[in-house]
């Protein structure tokens, strides 16, 4: 058995910096959710801004249901932020475990696999939001919060799936090592 204190993976400021960054991004995500929830009633009562920014061709004679379109876009953004919050919670727990000296603890492989699926959902949703925003017109460029299709994001998804496999092997080895005297 190996003592779990003072190992190189626990030391260094990188883990502390990561945790601080996670907290900052989490706060930003909550702020985004709050802003989206506040925007809904504001735009509902004053739709002049919507009329000015929208560039949607409506069928002759009928006005486009702009508020519905706006709400759908906003709901997608809130969904993206909520998924990001779940992802960040997983990441924070993972980093905390590594800091605590348990990088190959049981369950980390499953956590990484979940993170990979969450990131895939974030990437897909971000692409959809990007397409939706360009359909809504240039006045809705602010909607592209995720930045649309991202190669780095896709690579991150693949990396997370691979890392999940690596950590599954790592925790099996850890279990074996725990029985060595």
């Amino acid at each position: 058995m190996v003592s779990s204190t003072g190992r190189p993976w626990q030391s260094g400021g990188i883990l502390s910096v990561t945790r601080a960054a996670i907290r900052a991004v989490t706060a930003l995500c909550w702020l985004g959710v709050l802003a989206a929830l506040c925007a809904l009633p504001v735009v509902y009562f004053d739709r002049s801004w919507l009329q000015r920014s929208a560039d949607i061709a409506s069928p002759a004679g009928t006005p486009a249901p702009l508020f519905l379109y706006f709400s759908l876009g906003l709901a997608a953004i809130v969904a993206l932020l909520v998924i990001s919050l779940v992802f960040l919670r997983h990441l924070d727990r993972f980093v905390r475990a590594v800091q605590g000296g348990h990088p190959f603890a049981h369950g980390h492989a499953l956590r990484l696999r979940r993170m990979a699926w969450l990131m895939l959902a974030m990437e897909s949703l971000s692409i959809l939001i990007g397409l939706y925003a360009s359909w809504m017109g240039p006045g809705f460029a602010w909607m592209e919060v995720g930045g649309g299709l991202s190669i780095t994001g896709m690579i991150a998804v693949l990396m997370l799936f691979v890392m999940a496999r690596v950590f599954a092997a790592g925790s099996a080895m850890r279990e074996d090592l725990d029985g060595v005297v």
């Binding site: 058995m1 099996a172 029985g179 060595v180 005297v181």
Partner: protein, 76 residues
Amino acid sequence: MAIVITLDRMLLKRGMTLSELALRIDITLANLSILKTGKARAIRFSTLDAICRELQCQPADLLGYDPTGPEAPPAE
């Protein structure tokens, strides 16, 4: 596992306690207890060497094989 640990027998022969041996070979009592109760999955040569040195015995005095014992789990 079909491998039987006979450390307790050797300790009795030498009149030494488990804690005393743990102290002498610089290994935690918990780990040595795992070994004594047969719950260990493997033993390092360095640990075996230290135990044999302190108890003045051969590895065979500490380990035995019982073919009627349960099978070990397959190695990964």
